[in-house]
Symmetry: C2
Subunit: 387 residues, 2 copies
């Protein structure tokens, strides 16, 4: 078990009818908010009116920044920074899924920075401070509501990069599972795959295979994500399943999921970021394609031990050898992804095998920046297994 | 799944050789510390010198408050408050197990309060503010290093009561598993039982049996505590087992372990506090006696469902019915407690059955204060099952 630091000061307000608390919470931090959201679905499900009425009741003024894309882009984040500065917004409120929260984290830091926010993603500048950020989460998936990281796509360069800082934790995240009751099956599935990916990256790339409490936590989150998703797909109106899914996805990337593992590698994310930067596909869909392929590739390098352990604990795999158990675990992933309607092949998203060199080339920027230690040839090999 | 709030801002610094960071961390919060510790075992295992050298190197002065008892007492906490005030200590540093941290939390709040600290335990006063508290944990058990609660015994009235406040979280807790390598088997076992008790209270008294992520987390912590303890007792020098035990005990009471359960009841703790207040026994030992007895009592009231679920997930129980599984789960607890050397009967600690009415009478104060809704007759019935 490797040494670690853990610190996570996000205040979570979770449950039915909690959105109306946003005004009171926001008023603790400022008087004028930049209200960041996506393409307007919050205006159809009552979330927008709940948020804005609560802000008005608490005397918090707001300027709107609409139109965050599912893969949030640099140009829109820059607009948000400009708007926050011009309107002297002293708080940022994100209402949406991980994309909205990620762009809001960018804006919160950018509002107190003189340069261009892309500097935070290339390593040119570190984030020293940020405007207080509050989030109202509407889609369980990325965990951004309870961590200090965020990603953004530079659409000019097709780079989907990540950033983060101790100043980037939301002060408060409000999570009302009721607003997820109408999420379509595809978004539910994408969120589930994303949450699984977050725990899998650490579990399978750990530098220390003897961190039992964290292994157990990872198994627990995986089982909860899988069982909640199964319940939701069987009955989309199952509140407890929606709630469990929402909380599981948060726990899947709030820092606890990799404690004691030492430095972990986000190889699947690095490859997937290339896919969603180039083809603007859903992050969860891309991960469902990349992960089984990476498992097959990595099995030969890392051996079957971790896959066997995971499969036994999560999928109830039984086998006479670790090798057999590992192979059964990969199959179990593929079967479950197929069951929930996630894609398993690049071809399902109409991404031609001929593009593999280009995808790998793009992925190398992140792989190198994150010092993952995987070469272009290996990335192509992984992608070919997903063709 | 019930609504919940979660907030836990404790910074954890975990691992080998981390104690030397106490000076740097303490210097962020003040210049003069009250250094609180127990009966001096930290002077034999190098912890005292590591802490004091680090404080000196960082220019943090300190006044010592030695002699915290395993069940910390009011008179000694009052002395600590007096010392902190007289010496104008602006930080409190706890070096020890849960008892030392709990008394330090009392002192941290008392140092900014004009009245008597017992007021915090009787409900006469609420804690509004506290001196910054930093902890160096030496015994995994209570979880106090990452929560805002604490207990203290009023030795004049034989009352072991609890308090807590948002101001009572430690700012920083340093956890070096190396210092636990020499913990005797009995203390290891008591710590394991205490950690299990913390997750069990919520799991078995939940107001909502459909909070799957939290159930899974409870199973994960239980399995980790049990497997780590087994490894430690087989090989006390197993660092990874010590580390896993230390982190598991923290997770067992940092708030996550009961999210979504709604109000939970600490019935086993209420009864055990009476035992340790009256007989000054180890908290973990008292809990090992009370819990199986309470399970047997509660099985008739709450039914077998939760016991069956827990036993299947944690002890690998198989059974044809929930009733059979529940009974096997209780047996599994008893067998495991016996295996690790924890007591199962009052008689093992020479507490006579004739004292049961007195113990129950004492327990009623907490049971009523915590609104547990259990009468004296029932407490006596539980205790008779443990006679």
């Amino acid at each position: 078990m490797k040494n670690f630091n853990f610190y996570n000061p996000v205040k979570i307000i979770f449950g039915k009818g909690t959105i109306e608390k946003i005004g009171t919470e926001a008023a603790r931090y400022g008087k004028k908010a930049l209200l960041v959201y996506g393409k307007g679905s919050i205006k159809n499900n009552g979330v927008y009116s709940a948020v804005t009425e609560s802000l008005k009741a608490s005397g918090v003024a707001f300027v709107e920044h609409e139109g965050v894309k599912p893969n949030p882009v640099l140009s829109h984040a820059r607009e948000g920074v400009k708007k926050a500065k011009e309107n002297k917004c002293d708080i940022i409120i994100a209402v949406g899924g991980g994309s909205v929260i990620d762009e809001s984290k960018t804006i919160a830091a950018g509002a107190l920075y003189g340069g261009d926010v892309w500097d935070f993603f290339t390593g040119k500048a570190a984030i020293k401070d940020a405007r207080p950020l509050l989030a109202v989460l509407t889609i369980p998936a990325t965990g951004s509501e309870m961590n200090s990281g965020f990603v953004l796509t530079n659409e000019e360069t097709s780079e989907k990069f990540a950033s983060g800082s101790a100043a980037s934790f939301p002060k408060v995240s409000i999570m009302d599972p009721l607003v997820t009751m109408t999420l379509p099956a595809a978004q539910t599935a994408n969120g589930a795959v994303d949450a699984l990916a977050h725990i899998i990256e650490g579990y399978f790339t750990t530098k220390d295979k003897d961190a039992e409490m964290t292994d157990e936590l990872v198994h627990a989150i995986a089982r909860s994500v899988i069982s909640s998703t199964d319940r939701i797909l069987a009955n989309p109106k199952d509140y407890n399943a929606r709630a469990s899914m929402m909380w599981s996805a948060t726990l899947a990337l709030n820092g606890l999921q990799a404690l004691g593992y030492g430095g972990v590698s986000f190889i699947n994310h690095a490859i997937e970021h290339s896919l969603s930067a180039l083809y603007d596909i859903a992050h969860g869909a891309g991960l469902a394609i990349v992960m089984p392929a990476w498992f097959k590739y990595d099995l030969k390098i890392s051996g079957p031990e971790r896959l066997a352990k995971f499969g036994k604990a999560v999928f109830g795999v039984t086998a006479v050898s670790d090798k057999e158990a590992a192979e059964k675990t990969i199959s179990a992933f593929e079967k479950w992804f197929a069951k929930i309607g996630a894609p398993l092949r690049l071809s399902e998203l109409k991404i031609p095998a001929a593009d593999i060199p280009k995808i790998a080339e793009n992925a190398m920027a992140l792989i190198n920046m994150w010092e993952i230690g995987c070469d272009r040839k290996s990335v192509e090999e992984i992608l070919r297994k997903a063709a």
